[in-house]
Amino acid sequence: MKRYLTGRIGQALLVLWGAYTVTYFILYLLPGDTLAIMLSASGMEADGLSPEDLAKARAYYGLDKGLFEQYFDLLWRALHGDLGQSLSLGRPVTALLAERLPQTLALAGSAIVLSLLAGVGLAYLTAYVQWRPLKTALARLPSLGFSVPVFWMGLLLIQVFAFASGWFPATGSQGLASLVLPAITLAIPSAAVYAQVLHRGFQGVWQEPYITTAFAKGLSRAQVQARHGLRNAALPLLTLVGLQVGNTVSGAVLVETIFSRNGVGRLAQEAVLRQDIPVVLAIVAVSATAFVVVNLIVDLLYPCLDPRITHTAKVN
């Protein structure tokens, strides 16, 4: 177990480093001079300045180092928990993240919980219902769920639940109520995926002989589904929850834009546009860490859910 864990953590760190490096070099291949952006942000353009002024400005923004020098510099400091300064915001990236991350975590966290509840609930219901037309309709619902563009769904929800009925606020980062609509928007595609996968899981599990065994004991349909069906059908779901972390971050970019939420997703989008490399790198590092950690947890959780899987070497 210990050996497995070390190997797995090593692997996770490798993936993290890969993600960090890939992002850094993609960002460095971007056209446009970072200095020019910095200057234009403050209302000036680089060609309007003398070479000395340019050098001064370059030093002011810390851009007077080479490609690899900056990379190793950033990497070294990142390893020490210093994610550098935002080029355009002039603040430590850690402070920025500390400010923005809670918003996104609240959004993503509630979206994940919501999507699990909705996805599992829907699939469970679909499996339980026996009336054909309803069963078919419920089984098709997930397909519809991920056929709808996230941003479109968000705008629609705002129109209906914020403006037409006035139940929830349309924007803002404060309070539970302002979290409801964005979380639902973000949860819908994931919920659809969960529902679909779990539905298939149930379809498969219902054909398993052990379900017949359970029925033959005299258990009711509800009991069989709850005690023998759900856990076995839900096994593939765990891997999926891990993989959906990335999608949730992607979704957060759109959702935070629409709902004017001040989270990491929006920060990321803006940072990419203004080539604020430290910020983008930090966000990628954070979301990749989240992804890697969640998947690590998923892997470690698997033996609890499925006793057939063990992480210790075993004699067959």
């Binding site: 992002t23 960002l27 971007l30 709808v148 705008l155 129109q159 379809q203 971050v249 992607s250 970019v253």
Partner: protein, 304 residues
């Protein structure tokens, strides 16, 4: 509870009872066999409708001028924001352009972008997956770590970075989206290759003297193709949504050409006053993507 009892053909009539004259036998063509697979599916109304919608979108991508006589780019200030009606099926936008026409012409960009994205993902993913699955060992481990890295990078962030790196427009967006869905293809392909590699018929082919290349091309790839094709169909829909998302953030085609995502995005300013400008293109996208999902699912269920 859905237990299907497999109905095995009868075993008794095996001993040459039905022997026909030798000249009577001719090999069936692939087309005939494809038709045989497809015809029971076509009898389902849902499948046919979905196929029709997808074909409409594909047709619109190829020959939009046959589907509308309006010019998608001609502004007509006098007609701005008129509601859907007989003259303008989807209404008009803020510059008086016919929205239905714009949706039809938008199909070219959106469908092409999605096709390109899926093609990129297919080539990259299939290549990586086959290589990893077939080579195994260290190559496999290294490739899988690479896939893990790609997976760990949030798709939209990666796409944003790529789009800003290579510029705006349909092709860059397609590339960005395509790169984003490579991992899924690679994983599925690899899993399928690994599964099929160990199947008895592959062993039988090898024992029958088939080379690895022949085994790969004739046995492994065609049999791995099923799940991969289903994934491709699903991802075709996902790619439409992803391109729409990027267009929504403003990375789409150069105006006045408009992808579906751009249409929805531009129309959103009129959600309160002229909802159709955003809702109808949105509904159209939903219909197309839903149809694609339906086709993929039906094909998958049918194959099982």
């Amino acid at each position: 509870m859905t237990i299907h009892i497999p109905l095995t053909p009868n075993d008794t009539a095996s001993a040459g009872v039905e022997a026909r004259p030798a000249a009577g036998w001719k090999r069936r063509t692939r087309l005939q066999r494809a038709w045989q697979t497809l015809s029971p599916l076509l009898r389902r109304p849902g499948f046919s409708l979905a196929l029709l919608i997808v074909l409409f979108a594909l047709f619109a991508a190829l020959a939009p001028h046959l589907l509308s006589h309006y010019d998608p780019y001609a502004t007509s200030p006098a007609d701005k924001l008129s509601a859907p009606g007989l003259e303008h099926w989807f209404g008009t936008d803020e510059l008086g352009r016919d929205l239905y026409t714009r949706v039809v012409y938008g199909a070219r960009l959106s469908v092409m972008a999605a096709l390109l994205a899926v093609a990129i993902a297919l080539c990259g993913g299939l290549g990586l997956g086959v290589l990893a699955g077939f080579a195994g060992g260290r190559v496999d481990a290294a490739l899988m770590r690479l896939i893990d890295v790609l997976l760990a990078l949030p798709g939209l962030l990666l796409a944003l970075a790529i789009v800003t790196a290579i510029g705006f427009g349909t092709v860059p967006v397609a590339v960005a989206v395509g790169v984003g869905i490579i991992p899924g293809f690679a994983r599925t392909t690899r899993a399928e290759v690994l599964r099929i590699k160990t199947l008895p018929y592959v062993e039988a082919a090898r024992l029958g003297g088939a080379s690895w290349a022949r085994t790969l091309l004739r046995h492994v790839l065609p049999n791995a193709w099923g799940p991969v094709a289903v994934l491709a169909t699903l991802d075709f829909g996902a790619a439409i949504l992803a391109t729409a998302g990027l267009s929504f953030l403003g990375f789409g085609a150069a105006p006045p050409a408009a992808e579906w995502g751009t249409l929805i995005a531009n129309g959103r300013h009129f959600l309160i006053t002229a909802p159709w400008v955003s809702l109808l293109p949105g509904l159209f996208v939903v219909a197309v993507v839903f149809s694609l999902n339906h086709l993929a699912r039906s094909a998958e269920e049918h194959a099982r």
